[in-house]
Amino acid sequence: MNAALTDWNAARRQIVGNAASIGFAVAMYGVSFGALGTTTGLTIPQTMALSLLMFTGASQFTLVSTLASGGTALTAVIASWLMGTRNAAYSMRMTPILKTSGPGRLVAVQLTIDESTAMGLAQDEDAFEGRASRLAFWATGLSVYLLWNLATFIGAISVSAIGDPKSFGLDAAIAAGLFALVWPQIKSRTDLSVAFGGALIALAFTPLVPPGIPVLAAAMVSIIVGWVTSRRIT
């Protein structure tokens, strides 16, 4: 019993430490997001509302950069939803592990993002009667939530002070930030074709349709390739 308790204490310390360092790593993106939000015409409260309420980085970057490139509110919203579909898969995976209900479930749902899910699933599901998985999810989710919002605020208020964002290369920084988000997701030749296909379709549509729509058109590549390749495997 004592040995088991010592093991759990050690495991707990390690999980909480990892969760904290993930939070700090994510904070770097948070500062960039806050800066991007306010330079593309959102107010500080609007930028903060995205981090507090939407709380899923890729969707937030998508919404803001679609608006920045001149897209309508509606195309920006749809693009952010499409980007958020993977969170549905994450919460489906986490729900049986977390065993939450009522208000706890509603909070857990909001904290379900790339990082918390990855950390939750990285633990042995049966370790310490599932406590390791649950702690990893909650600690990571809360640490990222706290630091992401703090970082957004810092980014948002610091950029309102600078002048022309282009002279600081902020437009190039947005492109590079999005590129850094997609880079680690490309793991196979199919992923690479989808990436190039999406980029080419978006550019081909750019002169023809209003801003924002080209990015939505690019989503078709994923739908078609996903449909065709899953059929070939089965």
Partner: protein, 103 residues
């Protein structure tokens, strides 16, 4: 209009997270749905990178953003941290503009 985008976007993203916790597992476990969910961020983000690098409203242009993205690509190749990738791109574009080498 901005508030509409912020709140509608946030509501939909929360709804997607919530739906995953209540729908029967077999729907999202379907191989086709699973593949598409996995591939959607890749095409969307790549499209955003392309537009953010080469488009100016409805025009395709070559400006300081292109060499900046090339610099970011090199940084990514060397597994640099996110913040470094972003800063190297910003610095490249800012320097080219400052010295009048690109718009």
């Amino acid at each position: 209009m901005m508030w509409f985008a912020v709140l509608a976007g946030a509501a939909g993203c929360y709804a997607l997270k919530y739906v995953g916790s209540v729908i029967p597992a077999h729907i999202l476990e379907q191989p086709t749905v699973k593949r598409i969910v996995l591939l959607l961020p890749i095409s969307l983000l790549s499209a955003l990178v392309a537009v953010q690098t080469f488009a100016s409203s409805q025009e395709l242009v070559l400006d300081a953003r292109v060499p900046a993205l090339a610099a970011a690509t090199v940084a990514l190749k060397f597994k640099s941290p996110f913040i470094f990738v972003v800063l190297i791109a910003a610095a490249t574009a800012a320097a080219l503009r400052y010295f009048g080498l690109a718009v």
